[in-house]
Assembly symmetry: C2
Homo-oligomer: 338 residues x 2
Amino acid sequence: MFGTMLYGPGDVRFEERPEPKIEKPTDAVIKLSASCVCGSDLWPYRGANEVTAPLAMGHEYCGVVVEVGSDVKTVRPGQFVVGSFVISDNTCPHCRFGFQSSCEQREFMIGAQSPYARVPLADGTLVATESQPEEDLIPSLLAVSDVLGTGWYAADAARVQPGSTVVVVGDGAVGLMGVLAAKQMEAGRIIIMSRHKTRQDLALEYGATDIVSERGEEGIARIKQLTKKVGADSVLECVGTQESMNQALQVARPGSMIGYVGVPHGVQFDGQSLFFAQVGMLGGPAPVRRFLPHLMDLVLTRKINPGKVFDLTLPLADVAEGYKAMDERRAIKTMLRV
Amino acid sequence: MFGTMLYGPGDVRFEERPEPKIEKPTDAVIKLSASCVCGSDLWPYRGANEVTAPLAMGHEYCGVVVEVGSDVKTVRPGQFVVGSFVISDNTCPHCRFGFQSSCEQREFMIGAQSPYARVPLADGTLVATESQPEEDLIPSLLAVSDVLGTGWYAADAARVQPGSTVVVVGDGAVGLMGVLAAKQMEAGRIIIMSRHKTRQDLALEYGATDIVSERGEEGIARIKQLTKKVGADSVLECVGTQESMNQALQVARPGSMIGYVGVPHGVQFDGQSLFFAQVGMLGGPAPVRRFLPHLMDLVLTRKINPGKVFDLTLPLADVAEGYKAMDERRAIKTMLRV
């Protein structure tokens, strides 16, 4: 088969790859229904993470099980499944605590920008649907795997409550999913910082009540004004730069929580500033597995439509263009037809 | 009257001071029933905070109201009151959110290592008892004002739950109060890091289930062993150095919360490390006012005895020796008879 490899900054290749097979008795192999490019794929693509060896790209996935290892008990060939971008056994103490993304057996999914992929620890990682989902739901089910699960975790970590005031920093796909999550959690006010018309429109559709297009000090001042100088009850930091984190800290009210899901790059916190700001923080790779059943149900019952976040769809063979379009912010998120 | 001033590192003077009087209509003046030295007083005493002008020391207090300003409505002369070390109006949005220590009108109490003290924003800050408390309860009521309130906040911020595993970093007075708080919140296991026999004994009396006397890597390894490699559900960081914070981070399980109440001195966090550790953090000056009624009730009904944390009692005139004893760790906490 052909799959996606990253050789270095800007160097995405769609090339011959070995067919995935069962390597351990706990594995499954799935045929992907669709794949996509993640905002976090752009870190190595842009050279922000060093690439020392070619990387098998792609960690968001849903599809049909084609084969399972001898120890797999909860999924079987023919079933439609969604999994988290973090492989987990779902039985260790960290998993039982709801933090499957820190599973004792944690692995990060790879190689999903391909027609087939191997999923380790299939019993812990995959959740099957009762029947084959309708075709038009595939983008939304794919979104659950990472981008929605991550936005949801940001809102959960930031402890969004009914009626509360939420600020979302970052209008990438995860930020937009954060808006959707905050809306589902019945936030009273959802302010997103966004300068791009198409993203603003989608944010409004997902439930944003206010758009702040100013950045930096001006953006902070605008949010202070919107919240009568109080600040937000919950802040979702969905970028991962020092600038975006400072923005989050400045608009968070004392006693609020910042849920941060953008992988921090070069971000430092000063202990004493954080102390006197009295802002709570919880971040990390999203424990999507915790949310999978609920989010899949919301999609299957058509209560949410996270799949709209894919505003560019390309054949898998054009994956390099998919990266490029996101890098140049021509696309929010690229779906790949397999 | 004579009161306590700090002129510079190690230079505590008990000297003639003006009698406090009502300066604003929202003030009260109280006659202190007792005063004490705070661990945080040792930062400037030790030169860790610069002293640019003489400081009127003392911010923990309880006593009898002698005079109130014309706007004060909820306390009256003759009443016994306890207040927080942070002055707050208890009506602003931050106060109503439970974070009175970030009140829009916040001031930090000063001048309480004296026979009399002025308390600004008396209505918001002070809580009166129904009647004069029995004399032997004075140390515990004094403790509520800061040291207990702060330890309690650490446990609250760290979200201690019934049955959960708690690690307390720091065996100073605040750490010991953190043990007491965790016990009241029905933690299942309370591990304190302590190397001092008298503090270990008091920790055990307050409800600690395990003492870890090792420090650094060894201490971390010991806690990992005690928690079957999982780490703690909640960590109370009650020191404020980089070393103690690292200790807290290393023993906190993914998804746990660290409540940090030691004022950070020279503490930095790396965003990416914090992200992948997936540890939550909430700190700051304790919103003691939120807890005052409950904690005063626990003391008045003799359910808790935080006053035992005072293991040295001196006349107010010997306040300099009180600082010295704490600085040299001969005393956990010094109470001053006024």
